[in-house]
Assembly symmetry: C4
Homo-oligomer: 200 residues x 4
């Protein structure tokens, strides 16, 4: 293994991508068109119609912030990077950079079950990418910092497999009953992470 | 409290978001469509019609630059970050990253009172996020650099609560008299910050 | 030669550009418009019609990630930068920053041979820029780190000339037989890089 | 003067903005719409019609790269930053971040004299911002690195005033004779900088 990857440059690159994605989300909310430019009631109604888009934007914003935190915590445990980690990280960035698209579809068609499936599947794929990156490192102990408890890391890998994807698939299934149940789960996942984080 | 957040990585992430937002603003100014491609008078008229958009863009540009300065000054006073600061910072970034939307609405409907309310409310929420972040730190003294005067920091927190949001709400109320009064206040707030800054 | 260019600032600047380009790609995939907002079959059909755009996005995503890796490896071999390297780097960034355009054209007109030529030519120009930057450094040995094997570097320069552009031109020619053959080559190039990388 | 501004954080912020602007330029080149999706002649014609947009994009790309270099060289001469430099830098960033708009107008209406004036005026304002930042520092010697030749710096300030804006205004005037003369000047300015740079 040649140690060609500077950890800090990969982190900066990843952070740059996270920062751009979290900011691009708002571009999917277009200024509504109203006929009577000075009509306050028309503009209020047009903005109110964007409500599902605002909800989708907030959910995706906090989800990406949680991805950033999890990425940060994971990379702190790596002693060095090899190309394997780099490419599993690239897969994670692929799915994360895709998030603005399912967010926009969900905002445009909030009552359509296909939007809910698309959003949940992309998020599940993103979450699985974390698991795959961890799994790769479980098989290459020497990439971990010496201070890391290997057994806890391996257990955390299994936990991450069960937690993220299973939760998103639960959201999809609940969306069959009512779209808002899926929204609640999709918002609940980052909120849970934020508060479980704060307890530490 | 586990010290999992690298201050420099959070600063870089925040700076990236500020840089992207300040640059995306210009994307909301679309090239006007004119019939006669070589007609200078038609193009001058079409560009002149974009005047409210240019004003909105300049106001938001300097507002975000002031946010950057205030963020920079605030973070200089933090000794370390915990997840509480991280998430209050995320709330600040949420409202800041939203700014292109109310800016675009204001540029499209400058004479509509709803645009003025939307702009002022988003800015007030952004300003309140600063206060909340400070408040959190007031309750956790150990997060402050030892060189920071705690009493001055606490007083500054109350001041920030009164100053930012109250000014923006004043702008909204003045917008009831004439839209341009609101514009003047919204521009006046960052300009005041810039010049009060320069005196130091 | 005045050493005016800080290597780390040029790297950061380049990384920022790579991060932005890789993230902007997804903006070219627009939310499809459907008549019946809650119709799942209509939304599935509309998303399925975007299939060529998803493929183009994935190809360009991994291509840009490979560009990042190659850029990283190349810059690790430079001891310092002069303005010559800076401007050959700028030419590389020019063609790389152009990638979202041919990607979008390919996604909109996947069966049109002109799209395939455009995509292959832009990628070949990007690949040639790497060769030109290396060639420049071959003539200015003092810019290389002392640990770099000069002969291997010079051979690698010729190899890069043959490999990248020749492969892309092969993709174009195969596109004459069937567009999907070109797609396969365009995807195969980064995939080959990724796996040849991982063997090291 | 309180030294509140970290030079490296301001540089990173500015670099981020430059990187984003240089990359956003390509978003103004939209995929052309053609009727017959597989018609190669129609797509060639549609792409050829975008020729002025490609030229405008290349001019602005290299102009922003030159801005980056000049910014880099200027900041290397500063020992520290105060809020005055910060805000003159913000003015420079304001005009630089505006560049995608006049570039898009020029690409859409290349034969319209108003486009040429708009482009030249924005560039002249950007160039003047450099002069103003330098002028401010001429009056505050203590902000300069001790190794900087103050007289040369002051002379360079006058030179920058004459050179940039005067050249852009010349481009505007020549545009009265033929639009392509203005294009030639606008392209010639960064090209001149690049090659005068390389001689050093």
């Amino acid at each position: 293994m040649k140690n060609i990857f500077s950890k800090s440059r990969v982190e900066t690159f990843s952070d740059g991508i996270f920062a751009i994605i979290i900011t691009l989300l708002v571009l999917e909310i277009k200024v509504p068109h109203i006929e009577e430019h000075t009509s306050t009631s028309e503009l209020v109604a047009a903005l109110a119609a964007l409500f599902p888009k605002f909800i989708g934007w907030i959910i995706s914003f906090f989800t990406i912030a949680v991805i950033w935190v999890n990425h940060h915590k994971l990379f702190k445990q790596f002693r060095q990077l090899d190309s394997g980690i780099f490419w599993w990280n690239a897969v994670l960035l692929l799915w994360t950079s895709f998030i603005p698209f399912p967010t926009a579809v969900l905002g445009d068609y909030p009552g359509n079950f296909v939007s809910i499936v698309l959003y949940g599947v992309v998020m599940a794929l993103m979450a699985v990418s974390f698991t795959l990156m961890r799994w790769y490192v479980v098989g290459k102990k020497e990439l971990l910092e010496e201070t890391v408890d290997f057994k806890a890391f391996r257990t955390g890998t299994w936990f991450s497999l069960l937690f993220g994807p299973v939760m998103y698939l639960t959201g999809i299934v609940l969306g069959l009953i009512h779209p808002y149940l899926a929204f609640a789960v999709y918002l609940g996942i980052p909120v849970y992470f934020i508060f479980s984080e704060n307890k530490n």
